[in-house]
Point group: C2
Chain length 237, copies 2
DNA sequence: ATTTTAATGTGTCATAAGTACATATTTATT
DNA sequence: AATAAATATGTACTTATGACACATTAAAAT
């Protein structure tokens, strides 16, 4: 029997419904945010001895009375107070040895958060935003999960207006471009970027300008209503 | 408690490791094949009373001692004798009511099979090939799973040389085009199709021609070696 | 041997999209 | 009034896409 399947009872108790004849199912969340011109991801200190000092993704076991796709919303709401968030399933990871405490298969989701809007109290919850580019390793197979989700995000931002979930409701084209550059980790040409975005017909011209700048202000735009999620309330925790 | 969670013990016994406090995890396979200019999918008569007379995908519970991604290979080998098959994970389905006998979350994979090469004895195993276009409904949420996998297949055939897994080792450009047309369920322009394929650099000119035709024969091509899976042995069952 | 059948093989033109690149304009500050 | 720092915008080149027609080949029929 594989080494990964040998575990102490103490560890085992940490995870309910976990034994060697029942596979446990969890969800893990790659929660992306954007701040200081960097793409960030929300991490928590791992609570397993094996990974002491290391960070991991937010996750939890799926409950028997909830839909799989509801679980990540529950985790997000209960751990961060965030509601009405963009979430998408990416991939399910299930190698035998991926969890040191037993057999746990996990479905990974990525979420996109407007950090400023949600006013997350990160430090009180042992949660911290990390620049994606600075993350070298994570607990479990979470670095692989992060990379997989990042790839999916990158492949989607020109197809669907998902990147707007990282931004406030009003933004200039410069801010939008900076978000795209942060996600793709590359510099973009301003004129070509604007052409590409313009042709998508995602933007609503708000007839407002930036203010309080020491240079020429840009026009402000919003995402067209038809692409927005219904509400934008953030629960206070 | 949800209706879907009420079940008779008789039904429950059919699925090992299945109860209401342990979610069971399965894999389901959308096995595509190509024959008679049609895209086919391999189905089996459902063994559940609720779905008597209906067809369903091949699937099985994931075993505690196998990787998630190994399970579909095991299912394919044990149920059809097929080995060395192209398989790709697509999505995980986990709504509460999706399985009438209890809580089963399933990870869907699609597989691509060269029907003629594998010489599957389908009838002896209650397995049957069905034209994808003729499938109106399936047991469980398998129609949804089929549609999701079909979409994924369609979005990948111009990106990666996956469609070749449906074909024999030698083929003419006409045959290749017919496979693409069957997958996309659309007619393609011959000249434009050849241009698009040519630029991918996937094809090896075999310097052979079709034979035994009552018209001008076409050149035969194969997929370039670098894109092929290692072996091509099919086990006899 | 010639004709017929049924397919293969190939190129051009028009339109759309992608990429590289430079100058005039606007606002606040000095 | 001049400066600093950004916005706004267009063109030329290349590449991809989509519509479309004709000469060629091999076998079969006459």
């Amino acid at each position: 029997m594989a080494k990964s399947l040998q575990l102490k009872t103490a560890e085992l108790e940490k995870i309910s419904h976990l034994d060697y004849f029942n596979i446990a199912l969890s969800v893990d969340l790659v929660i992306f945010g954007y701040e200081d011109k960097e793409l960030k991801v929300l991490l928590i200190k791992s609570d397993l001895e094996e990974f002491s000092g290391m960070y991991s993704l937010l996750g939890d076991l799926v409950r028997p009375d909830e839909d799989l796709d509801s679980a990540p919303y529950r985790v997000l709401l209960s751990r961060t107070g965030m509601d009405d968030v963009f979430l998408e399933q990416v991939h399910t990871f299930g190698s035998i040895g991926r969890h040191p405490s037993g057999r746990v298969i996990t479905t990974a989701y990525y979420a996109l958060i407007d950090i400023r809007h949600h006013q997350l109290q990160v430090d009180s919850n042992e949660l911290h935003w990390h620049a994606v580019n600075d993350i070298k390793k994570l607990a479990f197979d979470h670095k692989l999960i992060l990379n997989t989700c990042l790839e999916q995000l990158r492949s989607q931002i020109m197809e669907k207006p998902v990147a707007f979930n990282l931004m406030q409701d009003k933004f200039s084209l410069r801010e939008l471009q900076e978000v795209y550059e942060a996600i793709l980790d590359t510099k973009l040409d301003r004129r070509n970027f604007r052409k590409k975005i313009a042709v998508k017909d995602w933007l609503q011209d708000l007839n407002e300008m930036e203010s309080n700048l020491s240079h020429r202000p840009g026009k402000l735009y919003g995402l067209k209503k038809q692409f927005k999620r219904k509400s934008s309330k953030a629960l206070v925790i």
